[in-house]
Amino acid sequence: MRPDIVVAGIGETTPVPADSRSIPEMVLEAVEAALADAGIGHRDLDAVTTASVDMFDGITASNIAVTEVVGAVMKPEARISADGLTAVAHAACQIWSGAYETVLVAAHAKTSIAPHRDLTQWALDPIHVQPLGVDFLTCAGLQARLLADRDPGAERRWAEIAAKRRGGAMSPDRILASPLVASPLRLGMCAVPGDGASAVVLRAKKKGIGGPILAGIGYDLEPHALGDRDLTRWSGLERALDRAGKTAGFEGRRPHFDLAEPSCLFPHEEELFVAAADLDEMTEISPDGGLLAGYIPIVAGLSRMTSATRYFRRNRKAGALALVHGTWGPAAQGQVVAILGGAAS
């Protein structure tokens, strides 16, 4: 029987638009905090699973820069180029496979070093799409328009969601008056990418090892071409959730989630998330404001897991469940979820 997995420790830098430190310095802070939080040292790690993207770091095999600070010297490291929550999903498979018992997951990005919107063009079909000057935000605008056309009140509602997520820092009216990014999306509605790193220690559950249970994982990749996708719903999240439910033993029915920590870059994505995850009103969403309060590409999904872990530490309720979520690609082409159980010992 495969072991239960516990989120034994978490650590991260405070997301900021621009961090003057180097990538290794940021990752070192997150990793050392996570190890201390888990009460272990580097020697206790069986493996490290990292998430980073060469194009965003401007370095070939850019994880070479963090090998020493994540403690991967003379150790196994799997390096994934997608949202950090996919590294959690893969680390869970590594532990369930019996290969490892203690895995450090670390993700980083430093988007202040180059215009992130322009770099995303290099992820799009270079034959039919990239040459037109399209990027991830333009794709998000096309999805938002499709949704707004069906629902006249949408833009006002989105402004209100964004205002709430920003803790009132910008009023809905000021958000609706902020500069256009990709109509109908305005700057005030968009999560703005910054610099940072997050780290999580996952351990096979044993006596004396406590923390929220990583009950299930699931991820999915939608077709690449926007025209091949149904942009009115997050069907990728539905599939990812079904897979996570299966690994968590929920067999088909959608459990009630006390907490949801989505990686939504825009208000319309939050509405797509709530619909696809079939959440009820009792579910608390993004108590820390979510990505609109601070967003680091590739780190985002992992930062949702650290936020959910903090929630469980504040609210010890047996049987509580959290839905942790990450995305990557144009209009969330990639979706990843983790189901966290609050049954901390």
Binding site: D54, I64, M74, A78, I127
Partner: protein
Amino acid sequence: MRPAAIIGTGQTDHAKSRDDVSQPELVREAASRALADAGLRPSEVDAIIIGNMEMFEGRALPELWVGEGGFANRKPCLKIATGGTSGTSSCIAGFHQAASGVFDIVLVVGFEKHSEGQTQTGMALTDPFWDRGVASGALGNFALSISQYMAERGVTPEQAARVAVKSRRNAAKNPHAHLKDANATVADVLASKVLAHPVRLMDMCPQSDGAAAIVVASAERAKKLCSRPAWVKAATTRHEQPYIGDIDRRLLSMRTLRDASRSVYATAGIREPLKQLDVAEIYEPVTYAELAWYEILGFCSEGQAGRLIEDGVTEIGGELPVNPSGGVLCANPVGATGVIRVAEAASQILGRAGAHQIEGAKTALVTGYGVYAWADAMILGSEP
């Protein structure tokens, strides 16, 4: 690790340039061949892993565009990138996923199209405060370490040339190899132009366009789907400190490859590799490295690598055939190169290696090499 097995492999015909197909089509070519070899329909695949060093083609998150080629639409798909070990590390990730109980069938596809970028693309984007200021690329870095290896172990250019000859002649029996020459001679190698002393053109691996795929199955699905699966007996990875100057006497010590190989030998019960291994597919970007790996992998004692190649021990028909496929020296699409090693070793166990089949191969060693000294090692066997 719980058992998992490889039940099918597929490769493109690796070449200098495959401008007849787009990147997704190149991935599809290897993926569909692997599924056919495994006797599976695409719908039976539970997860896909892509291996690729996207900066060589100037891409970001390449699985988003090419995933469809690997049948990844509406399926779990993620991408692994760890330099030269991207292929072997992708396969190891596939083993872990297939042994986790989460996925039963995992398709791993590695690919690269060097012809779409520039040869020095990867090397131009090294550490901007150190390597980039003083750069000579993988070639120069290897040539440096080779001078140490030759000075200390007395290996000669002729012995290195024999590795190139073995590689080109073996590749002539491998339809997928990029470079091949059934009649290659030591003289040909020694006549090829010096790129960086003492490395000559035929000592060095090419840059190729190509893709390779394997189908990994959970234990119970492997038994149902394949009469003689290639079982994963052991697999591990070791990474190293980030700079070439951190690694003393690199080709002589190579602690990462040494430790990874000892770890998989111990797990798989291998005490005398030369006798207990039936075949090895090792990652040799340059002839001298294959000789160095013989010693690091315990095929012979230190300083004896030259004798091993001279005595034909590592030829097809020798006591331990090394790289019967022709190896990296005859095909090197970086993201796929490690998967080619695994696919070739698995094909030997599956008995499907064709013209370069090693009769009755039951135990195979696979290694991966990348960056300055990252290493993967694995043992495949005919028994779980």
